[in-house]
């Protein structure tokens, strides 16, 4: 066998290896129901959950953050796309723009009865859809 053939085989093997590790590491967008099932099966793979924060009027319900007691403990309730509510704990300070976000994506896994998030991605109302201009009424 020529060296070039060995090289080509090695490259193909490496590429397959890369594809396999990728498919093993790939995460999924799931609902809380599926996240609970995964945890019940004993799998602690991390998943993505997309949800909204329950509000009554402007107020978000169930936020718990008291930095003077513990700056690294933030808990909230998230309602996923199937309208299942779940208590989420995030062992980090509360993201400052959390109150404004419309949609929240969390990464993590269920542990006991709570979802432990290690990453929070917030989708905030973008400034590009801003429908008001400061001073617009003043000059009229």
């Amino acid at each position: 066998m020529k060296k070039s053939h060995i090289l080509i085989l090695a490259v193909i093997a490496a590429a397959i290896g890369i594809l396999m590790t990728t498919s093993a590491d790939v995460s999924q967008y799931v609902s809380f129901k599926e996240a609970r099932e995964l945890a019940a099966e004993g799998k602690n793979t991390k998943v993505h959950v997309v949800g909204r924060l329950p509000r009554s009027g402007q107020q978000i319900m169930g936020l718990e953050y008291n930095p003077t007691l513990d700056p690294n403990y933030f808990a909230f309730t998230l309602v996923d796309t199937n309208r299942i509510a779940q208590r989420v704990v995030y062992f980090n300070p509360k993201p400052q723009d959390f109150d404004k976000s419309e949609q929240v994506v969390i990464t993590g896994a269920m542990r006991n009865d709570v979802f432990v998030a290690d990453k929070i991605l917030l989708k905030c109302p973008s400034k590009y859809v801003e429908k008001d201009i400061k001073g617009a009424t003043a000059s009229m």
Binding site: S4, K46, P67, D70, P71, N72, F91, D97, G135
Partner: protein, 865 residues
């Protein structure tokens, strides 16, 4: 007045630029068509050049119009309104230029115009076919900012759109000529000097990948399957240099400005540049292989084409909105997805088709490479780079698979790996190992005749030194009670080998000819970068762990990472090897070095102005006297944090900053970094109390006489005197007005505070000016005077004391990464200079120029010393 002229001028210039690019592309195509390289149809070529000059002039006019709109604060235009504001300094106006997608396309177009001119001037016989490709790319790029609607199809997004056409809000119905007074401003995170130079560097890098691609296309088209390599190498070297430096500038900006705690986050936007850079470096090695060993030409073709197509793919990824949830900072979707796909598709299909058609005619080397051929190891190294790029590509494209499957009707819910850093690291780390080891090995072999004996001889010294060095480092790491994973040991050893083997070769070459050592120098740089990454990322150490002993969490008792610490204002707290205290909020005052304590500034109705309450001085020099009005930059608050090393007693202070920004949603925090030669201390604020100011309690009244003592918010305080008010700058006192103030001395943790609430009588009306100290969480109001009894009534409100939540970490040997980057850039530069000389030397032999009248490139008088 609504100024529509500039916008119309700009938009017209865009259309002219587009039309001229079409003409240039077609005429260059006709000039080169059906003729061998070296002969051109001069008529078509003249027309093409003219068209390209018109194109360049029009692009400059577009840029000038857009800049005039931003610089002149013409907020009737959406671009100025959404990216700029009145208080933005001019140098940041340059960055608002490319904050938006249209502006960054424009920047890219601009660089390609510049490169096009260089090629017209210097590429000689290659001009027509190369410029045909060039102008073709230009016409696609310009179409992205065309802003023309044909039927229902919108082509491009114009930067010259009026605000009233973009926003559908009532004010424009009542007054179509309404112009906002101020813009919404530049993204605070982009207000950084790196953001002035990072995007131009990056887009120059993108533009430079087009040149080797255009040469490869021209070579395939004109069946000049080998001659294109020579010019392509030089351009690839410049591209590798500029793109590499651009990527690292972005990394440095992220390190300084964002607060994820590092310089690289594997965000798709970062990956989108990293992937083509890796492939570009691989293609460079392929080209050099052909140049020296007459092997690897097909690989070079594939890689040069792949680099350019990957740049197009990166453009599609970041600008089409396909990334959606996956990226925090990709551009907003302008509805250009279709257009971007066509752009990507046209060039991918054309180039691949042309390559396939010529594949059999591309020369291949008959000889079999042996283990003693350096070419083999260079080839393996390039393959390793491509595999590394492949992994990042496969993972970064996950959102694309979802979109594609959704498009053909299959629901897919794949998400990026939850632990991205872990995912990428486990492959990229081995790529690094391969790259540094092979770079050392191949570099040594490259410059000598190899057999078993000579190879052993030249590898012995670097090999032994590597093993000794690695053993020493491992011992030191153990001595410092740190773990070292086997894979880290492998990376350490190979990277050391990479440094030492390349160094031994560079030292040998220095004696022969300095200019040959560019490759070696670049390789040393890359190996040092890897060592810097290994140390700073592998051993990044969070020193702000919660040491209060309070564990509030009810659900879990296990050891979780608790990386943030709460610091009360003026109270010290232990943190790692330091005693840390937070000592107040500061502002940036232009003209005064460092920052100025907010307590020294009396804020006025104008956000950007304040009155000094005391002298603002640095050392002996007084910058402002008490009562002076000074300009301030109110957006950023700097939190002063004092670090005192427990062992040595040495102190330093950091000013991590944060900006309360409603539009961006909350608090934008940026770190401050203290640099030591062997490590950085990096710290940022992760939360603060509500930035709207403290929540003051209900007022309680106290009746006091002069000399009375009282506890205020748990501080001991004395009413020292009641006296005529002396800080009345903001009051505009007139004759007949009466102003007195109470003088309280409050004993705080570290020092005494004077608080002066004022009581003003004017025309029998009473005014009260309260005074407060945020340090103490205390606000006093002078409520009433009882002159007969000598009693004074004061109102006291208190607030929770100010605090910050801080995260701090140590980054060991991060300087290796930055210095490695500089060395790498230097190496690229040296190699470029050497290749330039090579070409000038060989020019007379190969130069059968179609235009003999054209002057040859001016040779630099500077020669080898």
């Amino acid at each position: 007045m609504l100024n529509t002229f500039i916008g119309d001028l700009g938009h017209a210039s865009v259309i002219v630029a587009f039309a001229a690019a079409c003409v240039a592309a077609y005429s260059y195509y006709m000039a080169a068509k059906d003729q061998p390289l070296g002969t051109t149809d001069l008529g078509w070529q003249r027309l093409a050049r003219g068209a390209f000059f018109v194109h360049g002039a029009a692009v400059l006019a577009v840029i000038a119009s857009l800049f005039a709109i931003i610089h002149g604060h013409h907020y009737e235009y959406y671009y100025a309104w959404s990216h700029s504001s009145n208080h933005l300094p001019v140098y940041y106006m340059i960055s608002c230029f490319w904050e938006g997608q249209e502006g960054s396309f424009l920047l890219w177009i601009f660089w390609q115009v510049v490169l096009g001119f260089v090629l017209i001037r210097y590429s000689k016989k290659w001009e027509a076919p190369v410029m045909a490709v060039f102008a073709g790319v230009q016409l696609f790029l310009v179409s992205m900012i065309l802003g023309v609607v044909i039927g229902d199809v919108k082509i491009g997004s114009s930067p010259f759109i009026l605000l009233r056409d973009f926003l559908d809000i009532p004010v424009f119905k009542t007054d179509p000529n309404f112009i906002p007074k101020d813009g919404t401003g530049l993204n605070a995170l982009l207000q950084n000097y790196w953001m002035v130079i990072h995007p131009p560097t990056l887009f120059l890098g993108f533009a430079l990948t087009l040149v080797p691609f255009a040469y490869a296309m021209a070579g395939l088209w004109k069946r000049e399957l080998t001659a294109w390599v020579q010019p392509a190498i030089r351009w690839t070297l410049v591209g590798g240099l500029v793109l590499g430096v651009g990527v690292m500038m972005g990394a440095y900006w992220a390190y300084e400005t964002l607060n994820f705690g590092g310089y690289w986050n594997w965000d798709p936007v970062e990956n989108a540049v990293y992937i083509p850079w890796l492939v570009l470096v691989a293609s460079l090695h392929g080209l050099i292989l052909w140049k020296r060993g007459k092997t690897g030409l097909r690989t070079s073709f594939v890689l040069v084409i792949a680099t350019f197509v990957l740049v197009l793919y990166a453009t599609f990824l970041t600008r089409s909105g396909v990334l959606g949830n996956a990226s925090v900072h990709s551009f907003t979707d302008l509805g250009l997805s279709g257009q971007l796909l066509i752009y990507l598709g046209v060039f991918a299909v054309l180039s691949v088709a042309l390559l396939v058609a010529r594949w059999r005619s591309i020369p291949v080397s008959e000889k079999e490479l042996t283990t003693y051929n350096p070419e083999l190891w260079v080839f393996v190294g390039a393959t390793v780079l491509c595999l590394g790029a492949f992994q990042v590509l496969v993972t970064t494209s996950i959102p694309v698979y979802n979109a594609f499957l959704g498009f053909i009707g299959i629901k897919s819910n794949l998400a990026l790996p939850a632990d991205q850093i872990g995912h990428y690291t486990k492959i990229q780390l081995w790529m690094g190992v391969g790259v540094v080891f092979l770079s050392g090995l191949a570099q040594v072999m490259w410059w000598q005749k190899n057999d078993k004996e000579s190879l052993t001889n030249s590898l012995t010294v670097p090999g032994i030194l590597t093993l000794l060095g690695a053993a020493l480092v491992i011992l030191l790491v153990r001595y410092n009670k740190l773990e070292m994973k086997p894979v880290y040991i492998v990376l350490l050893t190979t990277a050391l080998f990479g440094v030492l083997a390349n160094l031994s070769m560079v030292l040998t070459l220095l004696r022969r000819k300095v200019s040959l050592s560019g490759g070696g120098v670049a390789h040393i740089g890359v190996a040092l970068m890897l060592l810097g990454i290994l140390a700073s990322a592998g051993y990044s150490n969070i020193i702000s762990g919660n040491v209060s002993g309070l564990v509030y969490s009810k659900e879990f008792n296990e050891e979780l990472n608790r990386d943030n610490v709460l610091l009360w204002r003026n109270e010290g707290a232990p943190m790692g090897p330091y005693e840390v205290s937070y000592t107040g909020q500061y502002l940036d005052v232009p003209g005064v070095p460092g920052y100025v304590n907010k307590e020294l500034l009396f804020r006025t109705d104008d956000e950007y102005k304040a009155v000094a309450r005391g002298d603002v001085k640095r050392g002996g020099k007084v910058y402002y006297k008490a009562g002076d009005t000074l300009e301030i930059l109110p957006e950023n608050t700097y939190y002063r944090v004092e670090y005192k090393e427990k062992k040595s007693g040495k102190t330093f202070e950091l000013f991590p900053r944060a900006q309360a920004n409603e539009e961006m949603g909350g608090l934008l925090a940026s770190p401050d970094i203290k640099k030591f030669w062997d490590h950085d201390i990096y710290s940022h604020v992760s939360a603060t109390p509500p930035t709207t100011g403290p929540d003051w309690s209900e007022v309680t009244e106290h009746v006091l006489s002069v000399g009375d003592t009282i506890y205020l918010n748990d501080y001991f305080a004395v009413l020292r005197a009641v006296e005529p008010a002396h800080q009345t700058a903001g009051l505009n006192l007139k004759e007949g007005d009466l102003a007195i103030q109470g003088d309280f001395i409050v004993y705080g943790e570290k020092r005494q505070y004077h608080i002066h609430p004022m009581f003003v009588v004017r025309n029998r009306m009473v005014g009260r000016v309260p005074d407060q100290s945020e340090d103490l969480g205390l606000r006093l109001t002078f409520l009433n005077v009882d002159p007969t009894a000598g009693k004074f009534t004061f109102g006291v409100s208190t607030a929770q004391k100010d605090y910050i939540i801080l995260k701090a970490m140590e980054k060991p040997f991060i300087n290796l990464l930055w210095s490695g980057t500089l060395l790498m850039a230097l190496g690229f530069g040296m190699a470029f200079v050497k290749r330039r000389r090579d070409t000038s030397a060989t020019l007379p032999a190969t130069d059968n120029d179609a235009k003999p009248l054209r002057a040859r490139p001016v040779q630099r008088p500077r020669q080898v010393a």
